[in-house]
């Protein structure tokens, strides 16, 4: 209990730096491509962190992308067909994802983790198949013409004074959408952080270590597992729904199991052991994935050197190979340092400590020799 309440100074600093960076980003990165990449990072960060919340109880969900998709499609359809405002359609999308998560999670909540793994894998594929088979979702082609959030957000600032204020700050629809996205992301992070660092997260961790002992001290296994699934899919749904209104087009391919595999890789490479690991993993690896499109956008600008254009073409040509790198990184994590990226500092600290100790021992022995 002591451990979970204490927040280390380094991770607090990382949280603050990251928040400040993304708050100030629109000032330094004016182009839409950069902001789009940051938004993709937000989706990955929330997806990965909420996936980890489900994994806390020892169950790995392979359907997580599908739940992001359920949130996205629900919000998209509600906004497009019923004309709901984004402030209604986004929460409803999140609730839909949560409801579906709870229903499909119910039969597997008391089974061994291997069943949960297989069941979620199957449910994830099934959900995407249903989405591609339906007419209202636009089938395999996808959903188009979802009401854009930038219009809804600029609509909030009516009147001359307000719009003049926005102009003065240099906030267009794109920037407003970006900030709205950031707000939702931070909201999810706070919800998930509180969940894990309260006693609930602690109970879940107990549950993952020994379900039979947990039951013997009165922990209701199904209730707690379902709670983690509920919170996890809710956050997945809300970020998906926000994304639907940001990008205005959706395609079922964006939520297939391959995308869940990416989330799992982000989580495990970053480090599954604590809250900050998946965040670091998602930001770094998603940024790597975004590099080709960022380079292409940058080389389109006037006054770019020929070498840069050649370089960006080169990167673009080999971008299909990046999954290899990620997968190899995952293998390295699995076989060499299971704590992931965030465990590297403590590993270095430990090894240098050990080296110092060894040196001290050698010195001490040497000293004795001298004395002799």
């Amino acid at each position: 209990m002591k451990n979970t309440k204490k927040i280390s100074r380094t991770s607090a600093a990382v949280y603050i730096i990251l928040t400040l960076f993304f708050l100030l980003a629109p000032i330094f990165f004016k182009s839409r491509t950069w902001l789009n990449s940051f938004v993709m990072i937000f989706v990955s960060v929330v997806g990965t962190t909420s996936l980890r919340t489900i994994a806390l109880s020892g169950n790995m969900s392979f359907a997580h992308s599908a739940f992001i998709g359920v949130g996205a499609y629900t919000a998209g359809i509600l906004g497009k067909e019923l004309g709901l405002s984004i402030f209604l359609s986004i929460p409803l999308g999140a609730l839909a994802a949560m409801l579906l998560g709870l229903i499909t999670g119910w039969p597997f909540a008391r089974l061994r983790s291997i069943y949960f793994c297989m069941g979620s894998m199957f449910m994830g594929v099934a959900i995407i198949q249903f989405i591609s088979a339906m007419k209202i979702t636009g089938g395999a082609i996808g959903l188009q013409k979802i009401p854009s959030m930038s219009k809804a957000l600029t609509g909030l600032f009516k009147g001359e004074v307000a719009s003049a204020f926005l102009d003065k700050l240099g906030l267009g629809g794109v920037q407003l959408s970006y900030y709205f996205f950031l707000l939702i992301t931070l909201l999810c992070m706070v919800i998930l952080y509180r969940f894990e660092h309260s006693r609930i997260g602690w109970t879940l961790r107990a549950l993952s270590q020994s379900p039979e002992v947990a039951a013997s001290i009165g922990i209701n296994e199904r209730f707690y597992r379902q709670m983690s699934v509920g919170i996890g899919t809710f956050c997945a749904g809300i970020i998906g729904a926000t994304y639907a209104h940001y990008s205005t087009t959706l395609s079922p391919n964006g939520y297939s199991m391959g995308n869940t595999l990416w989330l799992i890789m982000y989580m495990m490479i970053g480090g599954q052991g604590n809250f900050i690991g998946p965040i670091i993993g998602a930001i770094l690896l998603e940024l790597i994935n975004q590099i080709p499109s960022l380079l292409t956008a940058m080389s389109g600008r006037p006054g770019v050197s020929v070498e840069f254009i050649a370089f960006s073409r080169f990167v673009g040509r080999y971008s299909a190979y990046t999954p290899f790198l990620t997968a190899v990184a995952l293998l390295i994590v699995a076989y060499i340092f299971p704590g992931g990226l965030v465990s590297i500092p403590s590993l270095i600290r430990e090894s240098s400590k050990r080296r110092k100790e060894r040196k001290a021992v050698v010195l001490a022995e040497g000293g004795e020799d001298d004395a002799a």
Binding site: A206, V213, A215, S216, I217, G218, I219
Partner: protein
């Protein structure tokens, strides 16, 4: 009468591991459940705590039918237990193991926990106090910051008891609490168990070690799922059937 089973029977496929067991347990007593390996003692525990459900028969706890309740419901009614193979929350410290076991008492709702309300913070203070007290009682205070998986075996067994005690049970089921302990630890554990009885708990012990007999008010002997004897420890020592089946014909 705190616990009563009526014609409790359990079959796995064609194999009957528990046949028509009628066991009663009075408030405040210590009952020893003994029998050779494979007699069905652990099965009995699993039936009472809801891990397994019986093929037929009924289990009453404090007059209530608890026959097919889920394990966590049984725990909530005030039945604490330990396990023979003694699984622990190995990645938690000893202190955290016992804190975790305060899941039921004092009760904080999920809302209280999530929003860190005043009620929850007060409860947590009580939990810490109670944990310190239990660790003191079981002689684990000096190892409270060790990871549970790093403890020596005897301490792990005691931690199992501490965890069960932390659920504030009225009935405590101990599955081989002395298994694998050294003589000093055995003497200490027996002391602890009698202290628990003095504090008002009813205890049901499954044990191989015959030193436990001195502690028991009554002894219930089963063999291959059948009751073969019930009586005081002194009677058990002199009963020929028991000596025959259990001690292999050699009087203790």
């Amino acid at each position: 009468m705190l616990l009563e089973t009526k014609n409790l029977t359990k079959r796995f496929g064609g194999l009957t591991v528990m046949n028509n067991i009628n066991l009663t347990l009075n408030k405040g007593e210590i009952l020893g459940l003994i029998g050779p390996n494979g007699a069905g003692k652990s099965t009995f525990f699993n039936l009472v705590t809801g891990v397994l459900s019986p093929t037929s028969g009924k289990i009453y706890y404090d007059g209530k039918d608890i026959t097919r309740l889920k394990p966590h419901r049984v725990a909530a009614l005030g039945i604490g237990r330990t396990f023979q193979l003694n699984p622990l929350f190995g990645e938690f410290t000893v202190f955290e193991n016992v804190v975790a076991a305060h899941h039921l008492h004092p009760h904080s709702s999920v809302i209280d926990v999530y929003f860190n309300t005043k009620k929850y913070r007060e409860n947590e203070k009580k939990v810490v106090e109670s944990t310190e007290h239990i660790l003191e009682l079981l002689g684990l205070s000096h190892v409270k910051d060790e990871l549970a998986k790093n403890l020596p075996h005897g301490y792990q067994k005691l931690l199992g008891v501490a965890r069960a005690v932390a659920t504030q049970p009225r009935l405590l089921l101990l599955d081989e609490p002395l298994g694998g302990m050294n003589p000093e630890e055995i003497i200490f554990s027996i002391e602890v168990i009698s202290k628990l009885q003095d504090s008002g708990m009813t205890v049901l012990i499954v044990e191989h070690n015959m030193q436990i007999l001195d502690l028991c008010d009554r002894v219930f002997v089963i063999s291959f799922g059948e009751k073969i004897f019930e009586g005081t420890p002194a009677e058990v020592r002199n009963d020929e059937t028991v000596i025959e089946t259990y001690f292999g014909g050699v009087a203790v």
